[in-house]
Subunit: 140 residues, 2 copies
């Protein structure tokens, strides 16, 4: 396996590990995938979170809202990896009881020591400029 193919496989493991930690509501494990100085553009809430401490609070709130009816599927994952920097993106399908939502997800990763860490994350739904509404129901 080439270095790049191996890096892409490692990043797929990060993505799956993060989803697994979220489903188990394990905030410590969720945060283990982020760099200390991560900058996050989250789908909800403020314009940006600076650093893992601020982002951890957002994760605690999000996980607090996840009932047993919560499901998240990350589809169409694409990864571009170099030696030390990588980009991953996907389309997420979230279900919370009867409500469902499609989101776009992007992550920037760096190899820090032996592990890949998310240094930047961007989640969103598109908006309708005419109504000013967030479009949560646009399916791929």
């Amino acid at each position: 396996m080439s270095t790049v193919a191996s890096a892409e496989a490692e990043i797929q493991e990060v993505v799956e590990g993060l989803l697994d930690a979220m489903r188990r509501k394990d905030v410590d494990r969720v945060m283990s995938f982020y760099a200390k100085d991560v900058v996050a553009f989250d789908a909800m809430g403020p314009l940006r979170y600076d650093g893992a401490d601020a982002y951890r609070k957002a994760w605690e709130d999000a996980i607090g809202m996840m009932t047993d009816a919560f499901e998240l599927e990350r589809t169409e994952l694409t990864v571009f990896a170099g030696d030390d920097v990588a980009v991953a993106f996907a389309v997420d399908h979230m279900q919370l009881g009867d409500e469902e939502m499609w989101l776009r997800w992007t992550a920037g990763l760096r190899r820090i020591g032996r592990a890949w860490k998310i240094v930047h994350e961007h989640g969103s739904v598109p908006m309708d400029p005419r109504s000013g509404k967030a479009l949560t129901d646009v399916a791929p």
Copy 2:
């Protein structure tokens, strides 16, 4: 200058070139910064654009709406570059007459031949989950 520092400088040039092309309403030059197979998650409109041909139409529409009162400033640009893959992100301030808007911008780039091309772009505003509104006025 190290290879990484030089790559980061090259990517800053891409970002500035893209903004300059947009201000000049030069769609061909705008598109020259994107890879043919770019996947874009745009702030408005559909969930994703697949490929430069589809994304070009969105750029033509966007540039068609830019009057002389349009201004865009890309602030707080951060770049992480490896040898062949890079991530850039920033907060954009858009002004169109009296209306202003803050957006988040993320790009994934690959070195293709000698040039860095944007292979993935993600622009958005956050949403308010209670009102379902897109939050266009959240300042940094």
